[in-house]
Amino acid sequence: MRYLPLTQGDRAEMLARIGATSIDDLFIDVPADARRDGPIAGLPPHASEMAVERHLTKLARQNLVAGEVPFFLGAGAYRHHVPASVDHLIQRGEFLTAYTPYQPEIAQGTLQMLFEFQTQVARLFGCDVANASMYDGSTACWEAISMARRVTKKARAVISNGLHPHYVSVATTMARFTGDQLVTATPDLAAEADSARVIAEIDSQTSCVVVQYPDILGRIPDLRPIAEAAHAQGALLIAVVTEPVALGLIRSPGELGADIVVGEGQSLGVGLQFGGPYLGLFACKEKFVRQMPGRLCGETVDADGKRGFVLTLSTREQHIRREKATSNICTNSGLCALAFNIHLTLLGGSGLEKLARLNHGRALAAAARLAQVPGVRLVNASFFNEFTIELPKEARPVVRALAERDVLGGVSLGRLYPGAEALGNGLVVAVTETASEDDIETFAVALQEVLA
């Protein structure tokens, strides 16, 4: 077996050293009736590289690949071009096959990268500090709500109806067990986000307000009045960014008054991957740092006075605080953080702005073109690279019909909000730099045919 170095001779010699007559002697603590005498039944035996590759390739071919067709899906996962050097570098064995940097003397590569990543995320979000990443945007969002409870000692979270419905579901699952009250609402096909509703819901018992920026329909709310209203009642503003590329062109949530900013970092470096692994981003004001969940990397010096980095403030974490920890997580999303870090380094501030302009330009063109399709209405007053259109009929079957024509034409609101009939004709369309002018035209023509 190609991954197992021991030979039969080695095994015999080692058993002799141990003083065992057979391998079964080493499993004597397993109760006899739970021991399996041979390979578990009903499962195939080992296979060659070639055979495994053939099987997996066959499965892969049964999927419609985003990069091979006109593609307009977003809603929390965006397709961007990832430079070739990103994937090369994250596959270096010293990154790929390293562990969490508990031994800093021989993990400075990962630690320095995390320090750079934290700095990049803090600057992008307009915050003082950021952590070394979380599982994904949805779990980071719940962790932020949970953190706001610890900071404010209150447990009523007001959630904008523009927050990704999966993020709302994750928070709902957890709140059921923690006792947090979530004030939620289903969105409507309005041109503006629900800032007025959110502000009206804030009261003295509110721990936080959670607003997605841009929101699930692509609308860009002004966070400033929400921050002001929240702060007036002693509540925190949590901003959620599912498309960090947008921040190349729009103001950062921190600058607009957000206390905690979380997000999904998948757009930069990570790729679509059918939903995971992704990259949870988490940043906040410095005064809340000890209530922050997740790993943190900090600067220090070694015994010779040389600059170096370590994991720090670990007394917040589960392996020390046990049942009093700020969060139960131990793994973060290290390799995805590295991919994000490299991609953002390749872009730089100027490249990020160019990329964001390109995205917005393509989205403007696509919105204008699709609005020309008979019966189609653009919902949004504002958007970055994603907007919602209202079709003259239910969007879900339209999406399926488009897929039959090899066009992946957006995410229907019926998929995201099953049962919400008022949203059934809504279609969320994302347009990144990977959508060419031809792709936009093909989409518009196909949509017109399907609607006809």
Binding site: Y3, P5, R11, E13, I18, D25, D29, V30, P31, R35, P39, I40, H46, A47, E49, V52, E53, L56, L59, L64, A66, D87, I90, R92, E94, L96, T97, A98, Y99, Q103, P104, I106, A107, F115, Y135, D136, G137, V170, T178, G179, I220, D222, L272, G276, G298, E299, V301, K306, V310, Q318, R322, N328, C330, N332, L335, T345, L346, S350, H360, L408
Partner: protein
Amino acid sequence: MSAINQSGWRPEMGPAEMGQAGHDAGATFTGNRALMLEEPLLFEIGRPDASGVDLPETVLMENRLGGMMRAAQVDLPGLSEPETVRHYTRLSRQNYAIDLGLFPLGSCTMKHNPRLNEKMARLPGFADIHPLQPVQSVQGALGLIHELAEWLKTLTGMAAVAMSPKAGAHGELCGLLAIRAAHDAAGSDRSVILVPESAHGTNPATAAFCGYKVENIPATAEGRVDLAALVSRLGPDVAGVMITNPNTCGLFERDMKKISDAVHAAGGYVYCDGANFNAIVGRVRPGDLGIDAMHINLHKTFSTPHGGGGPGSGPVVLSAALAPYAPLPFVERHGDRYELVEEETAGEHHAGTFGRMVAFHGQMGMFTRALTYILSHGADGLRQVAEDAVLNANYLLRSLDDVLVAPFGATGPCMHEALFSDDNFAEGFSTLDLAKGLIDEGYHPMTVYFPLVVHGAMLMEPTETESKAALDQFIGAIRSLAVRAKAGDPLLKSAPHFAPRRRLDETQAARKPVLIWQPPLVAEAAE
């Protein structure tokens, strides 16, 4: 002094001379030592207008940004592609990794990561598909998730599996939420979870997050859960127990089935922390031991890479009793088609679900790698994996128990990891010193000071992917270090001496946390 230029030399200073600081036989102008290269921070070498990506200028005649357009670009330095490749390549060389050598981190299972896994995960049919594509356009991806799920269920002998948890601790959360949901559905308000004192710190943290009170169960002198103490604590307020098996001392819980039976008889559920499933995969099915829920760290047992701290993946296998409460979404097979059960369809088939734990479907990229690994090994190979892992650990145990104290060495064989204490070291020497000495010998240290039940614990897990020659060299290194620790060698106290950095000042890091880079002037002003 910045790392970019240890000498402080600048072009206007003329011919380079060694600065006064640090001028000795080993000093160099750059601070580098041949292949050991210092690398400055991105923020010290990047420029705001530098970029490694060619993008067109887009002139926006109008914008629809709702008045939120930013005034200036984000303050982020960039690098060209050659600078980027060099920066990260140099950083990578300051890391230890499985690819470089034996990585005996107990409980973490640092085994070889096959490269076929990486190749398969990068097939565009898996890597370049969107989680919300119409189900008809992702049948292969759903098929892969289903195939992996079937393997996990069969290998564990369990009724169902929740695939979406993002890592081990997230899997624990999934299992505990399922237990809580089952009790809620039965109208029971049980409030206590029992956890052995040797448990991973995640166990009590997770139970507390689910709203449970945590109570510790003592261990026996043989390093196992004290069955009598556990049974005497069971009662109508106990929702369940969380047990790691094989446990964190590297031992199989011989009484596991009795524990399960007692817990079930008292109306509770049994959660098993499956972090150490790699020791028994293919030889023991946890379902046969009465377990109700167990997470499987795909990055431990099934070789997906640890990536310097994630991403992980923690599917949770569930007994028939807990299966109705499994989280959304999951994949169902209907004839030759696969369906995704989400909020929309859950109502009809799966009303008891405790809800959604993540956006989308879990760690697809890790599923691809894990299935590739599983198919490569097959049922026979996986069994051999467990056997070789256990053989290698016992070989370490019996090759070292004459120079180190093995607290449970006399109770019989260990499973996949060998546990030692620092009880026989010289006064003032502890586990940390041996660990740091191991760095100079070219190894990553073992897990230290865990489990808490052993003084100065050293937990060594070689895994099945080490050869006998690699083990023999490692044994030699540990024996040499043990002699030095017992003799009180002062050089061991200040180890490591040959790593990119010496021991780091963690107190300073925690007292005045510096978590992001600031330009030198700003940083000075903040002092």
